[in-house]
């Protein structure tokens, strides 16, 4: 974790450029929805431009926390035979992934703060936060990180059978865009989509953490959300280890 932290601090300029590219996504959504809110007399689906701003500024932080080792990383690792060395270590490779990307979060958080400050000045968000919400948010972003890590790692293991994972991963991202609140606050979606989103893991990696901070959830709802995150983390770990046990038998590497 420490090594990754230091590595990320070293290449500041490059990391910042990368972040700038990432920030474009929420800024576009934000501009589109605030335009519509302004056009329709101040609010869309009960959300004002200020609330959209708050939603997408927190979105950016959640997205930063949500950066995990991708299926492409697994694809590379498996295709190139890089996994051999990692298998020899005493701990399961996933431990290193979780720790490495978690370590990256602290520098990213430092980089995020000025961006959030600029966005706040430009887009005037409306915030109304209770202390309990901050606490839940601080926990929930790590819950989101774990759920996403295990989902994507399980997806990455598919490479043991196919050696190509791009198409499947694209499908995953589309589902996530639509059902997690990444594209837009889920309350703007049709009713049946909201119901569907409740039953799937995606919602707990974006919408719930964001809503915990900027929304108006009761304490019971906040706790229930954390419970759901725990539930999906466990499911994720379960699926990942199940697939892993079958997949690792198929692994053969040449050389090294």
């Amino acid at each position: 974790m420490r090594t990754e932290m230091q590595a990320q601090f070293q290449y500041r300029a490059a990391t910042y450029m990368y972040l700038l590219g990432m920030v474009a996504e929420p800024v576009i959504y934000l501009v589109v929805w605030s335009t519509i809110a302004d056009q329709s007399g101040g609010a869309v689906g009960g959300l004002t431009a200020g609330q959209f701003a708050a939603y997408y500024i927190v979105w950016t932080l959640v997205r930063t926390m949500n950066i995990v080792f991708t299926p492409y990383g697994w694809e590379w690792r498996i295709r190139e035979g890089q996994l051999s060395g990692q298998l020899l270590r005493p701990l399961h490779p996933i431990h290193y992934d979780v720790a490495q990307f978690a370590g990256g979060k602290i520098p990213w958080l430092v980089y995020y703060l000025p961006i959030a400050a600029i966005l706040t000045v430009v887009f005037h968000p409306t915030f109304d936060v209770r202390p309990a919400e901050i606490v839940v948010f601080a926990v929930a972003i790590w819950g989101a990180y774990l759920i996403r890590t295990f989902n994507q790692s399980a997806l990455g293991l598919v490479t043991f059978w196919t050696t190509r994972v791009g198409a499947l991963f694209s499908l995953y991202i589309v589902l996530e865009l639509l059902l997690s609140g990444r594209l837009l606050p889920l309350t703007l979606m049709p009713g049946w989509v909201q119901t569907l989103a409740w039953l799937l893991p995606f919602r707990w990696t974006f919408y719930f953490p964001i809503e915990a901070l900027v929304g108006d959830l009761s304490n019971a709802e906040l706790l229930a959300g954390l419970g759901m995150q725990l539930f999906w983390t466990l499911i994720g770990i379960g699926i990942f280890s199940l697939v892993w046990r079958h997949a690792i038998r198929r692994y053969t590497a040449v050389g090294n």
């Binding site: 490059a14 450029m17 590219g21 996504e25 576009i28 501009v31 589109v32 519509i36 869309v44 594209l183």
Partner: protein, 261 residues
């Protein structure tokens, strides 16, 4: 003349090379269709809450989305692969191989790579534009069609100049791995008309990153809302940008010192 022949030959080799990998074509089609599907769903969501966005109707925005897809195809198949290869060769000191050839070096570094299957987006974008125009109805005048073609050409050249300037930056800043991510993020702003963005951002994606010229202007042409002043300005800007990027490329090249020589 020789320059053009050499360029075409390089492109042909690239195309033939990619034709060997047909499964990649199917994968690319799938990924492009998914991206289009998301774009369409977003439009449905947006227009379930409003009837127009900044003066653009649903079908007009659809044409804009088509133009964005066409440009994405052009960038991903020709411009970006060549420019990324350029930055890598500068980093590793391998650019000498291109520099010693007896043709113009800028031309050569711009045509060595082709990712044919990425050009699927050009086709998909074309279909979207056609579909949007059919829904808008009314005849497109010859003049508008011509303006559209010219605007597309200017747009593509501008995007190329922009990428060349960025890639030339690698003569000073060696690590450029973040370029595609950065560009991709900013390029997504092109899915919407530039008019909706706040002033500072509109200025940025018009003059710093030429997205307004590359996407909004052609889309304005094809939806018959372009005036000649804008198109003339685009032409002047394109010529200026091309001259600048060529000067900048030569300026950067002087800083290059090879590793293999």
């Amino acid at each position: 003349m020789t320059t053009i022949r050499v360029a075409l030959l390089h492109l042909r080799i690239g195309v033939m090379n990619d034709l060997q990998y047909r499964v990649n074509f199917a994968l690319q089609v799938l990924q492009s269709l998914l991206a289009v599907a998301v774009g369409l769903i977003v439009f449905q969501l947006v227009f379930s809450h409003t009837t127009e966005l900044n003066g653009w109707t649903h079908d007009e925005l659809l044409a804009l989305l088509g133009v964005q897809a066409v440009m994405a195809g052009v960038i991903h198949s020709v411009i970006q692969p060549n420019m990324m290869r350029l930055t890598e060769e500068v980093q590793e000191g391998k650019l000498d191989h291109a520099l010693v050839k007896p043709v113009d070096a800028q031309m050569l570094v711009s045509v060595r790579e082709v990712q044919l299957w990425q050009a699927v987006d050009v086709l998909i974008g074309g279909v979207i534009i056609g579909f949007a125009l059919a829904r808008i109805g009314g005849d497109l005048s010859v003049l508008d069609t011509l303006a559209f073609g010219v605007a597309l050409l200017f747009g593509a050249v501008l995007l190329y100049c922009f990428w060349l300037v960025l890639a030339t930056g690698s003569f000073w800043v060696v690590r450029m791995w973040f370029l595609p991510e950065l560009f991709e993020g900013i390029f997504q702003t092109g899915r919407w008309p530039v008019g909706i963005y706040p002033d500072w951002l509109r200025f940025g994606i018009t003059f710093l990153v030429p997205i307004a010229f590359a996407i909004t202007v052609p889309a304005e042409a094809v939806t018959s809302r372009l005036d000649w002043k804008t198109l003339t300005f685009a032409a002047v800007f394109t010529v200026a940008a091309f001259a600048f990027s060529r000067w900048f490329w030569r300026f950067g090249l002087r800083r290059y010192s090879g590793a293999s020589a």
